[in-house]
Symmetry: C2
Amino acid sequence: MSSTKPSLPKGTRDFGPEQTARRAYIMDTLRRHFGRYGFQALETPAMENLSTLTGKYGDEGDQLLFKILNSGDFLSKAAPTDRESSQALLPKISEKGLRYDLTVPFARYVVTHQHEITYPFKRYQMQPVWRADRPQRGRYREFYQCDADIIGSRSVWNETELTLLIHDVFADLRLDGFVLKVNHRGILNALAKQAGMEGREMAFCVEIDKLDKIGRESVMANLQGIGASNLEAVMDFLTAQDSPENVLKKLSDRLGDNQAIAEMAEYFSTLQSLPGRSWNISFDLSLARGLTYYTGMIFEVKPTTVQMGSICGGGRYDDLTGVFGLPGVSGVGISFGLDRIYDVLEESGLFPQDASRHLDVFVIHFDEATFRHGQQVVQELRSQGIKADIFPEVTKVKKQFAYADKTGVTKCLVIGEEEMNSGVYQLKDLVSGEQTGVKRAALLAELTKG
Amino acid sequence: MSSTKPSLPKGTRDFGPEQTARRAYIMDTLRRHFGRYGFQALETPAMENLSTLTGKYGDEGDQLLFKILNSGDFLSKAAPTDRESSQALLPKISEKGLRYDLTVPFARYVVTHQHEITYPFKRYQMQPVWRADRPQRGRYREFYQCDADIIGSRSVWNETELTLLIHDVFADLRLDGFVLKVNHRGILNALAKQAGMEGREMAFCVEIDKLDKIGRESVMANLQGIGASNLEAVMDFLTAQDSPENVLKKLSDRLGDNQAIAEMAEYFSTLQSLPGRSWNISFDLSLARGLTYYTGMIFEVKPTTVQMGSICGGGRYDDLTGVFGLPGVSGVGISFGLDRIYDVLEESGLFPQDASRHLDVFVIHFDEATFRHGQQVVQELRSQGIKADIFPEVTKVKKQFAYADKTGVTKCLVIGEEEMNSGVYQLKDLVSGEQTGVKRAALLAELTKG
């Protein structure tokens, strides 16, 4: 029995009552809208076989996978030569890892359950992922991802729905200060060709993706370093800001007829056909996204009133499950970043006050008799759906009020002998200090009014 | 790029849309009642330091901990002699493990955050735990625990509240066929003394706990083997069934005045003072529970209509955090077993039909124009909180109905050219086959009625 004060592994966090309630407020909002749009929830295990995870996130990603030690006498399969290096020993002592994102487990799920799935299939998944990254501000080793994907349909209506969903979610979170940047990999690929990078379009996108971080000059230097040409004109073109209509027109003029341009045109025309909505959308030709598997439209949401990276992003992919032997599964998906959305709402003061209010009312009693009576009142309120509580033992009234105050309660119901006998209780608002008499039968109405 | 069909680690499971929705139905019910009773949600990380976890669950538990390999060149700290055995190597290559239950992380949380906590502190926690157990029917390597604890108060009202909570939860889940067995470790300890086992009360409880599994004769043989005496009388006494009043009376007669008996008497008298309730409670002196840290009342819920182990259990403990250097934190807690509750509800046909219905209505269209019109209708319904969807591309009506049917939709809204022009849509019930005309403005009312 050691008595050292325990600590948490670095990069991991406890979430106390207030944080958990606020995180639940965001996740409940996401869940509600995912549900309205017909997405169904899935859950996959925290552990996957390393054969499922390895090789899907690049060499760096493989390094950042948390690996789980085999159970029991794990060294029994390791020959003396295996024990000479970490690299040789790893496959002998570890077969499982913690999931690194929700995309690879989803792809694995689709292959495992391919005969049960009806396409188009809309799924959402909100679960933690783990990465052995160096922890720093805003970067944790355990964090939630909240993903929604539609697979098995190439219709642009799917991209439109994700756009509507994004607007609905952030409107419901009262986060009006955001911009949804959209672009299309097909357009970037065409521009890559104009920069002399045919066949190396992804390398072009990877460099363009760094514009925000390292600036135009450095990006151009990098692109020149890998053989790009005609860069001034291409960079001028893709960094110019304009309305969607004008961008589409300029694109047609420059690139001629093109599947990607047609899809973007359909996307904007569908949005315009939906009445009574306004859009926070920017058609930004410099948006590239880093992930290699995107092949169509790409999305990124950034807050405009707070300094913060993207809080939501995604795109269309042609081949989700080819790596697991099931080709031809295309789709489009987005991922909401719970931690960053939390930080934006907190910095902007946008969490509703009652998101973390854990009690509607707290009952104050004076002695054994009023404690007994209060228990009955509390149970009656709870059965009516009110979050009610009572101090669990007879103690000083002052101590009970102090407890209520410390735990963030704003309304106390005072039940003394007189109140117990008359059936009219004193309801005290701890914020305003006001106190009013309320009959037992009127409590529910009083506690649930605006 | 391998193309082997991927598999899951043994003992882990995918939860598809229907299972996830049904699990959410149970967890939402728990969450709602925890909230009404004033419990606040906490979340702790999946990983804890091995120094936090090791030694808390006995030798067997230590074996069953999933250990996480250190990142990077994990062998660098292991001298050649360390590499000779698993036991010597383990502390050099692994510092973290996956949580094994929610009690130890909660104890660690209380110590870490001791200066922020106001007592009494009521918390609930619903998160997965991991055990490297041999998988078998009903036993998994990843499963959820749903725990509620009240710490910092010794009042019997806390035990009463947990009893009320258990009744409310199972009533809401429509699971009437259950019995809540209650007992008190203080009574078992007194009976252990009568069996000549003073100073070895826990060993007595551990054997009594096996009554259900191995039967009275084997338990008596085991107890005799460790030196118990006077066993026939003690066993007769603790296995006799009777009403709480009679059990209390028999206990007083046999044991005299006793703190445990006084607490049980107060518990039953408080329950009786609460009006309009009926109780599924059995005062069962043979209930012992296996966990060593219980010191007061203990609880166990078993279904009565389905063959199944306990679906909820708990008890009072005197010392939650002493092992982490913070003595004197007492409390009482219960844990609901999500997987077993799921199995009971499924076997008893108690899941509500709409628990896994992912859409309220599916819109059927005929061509480009009705698809566009349908998109607007779908968005209007979604904005009103209806779970609505539309096939994302123009395709045969037959195919759309087949899709709706396969995905479990029961209501389709048919929008052809005539319906679009008249504004009266055909609402078809796929179960009854009935079809009725509904005006656009009346859709919300029609779709939300009974």
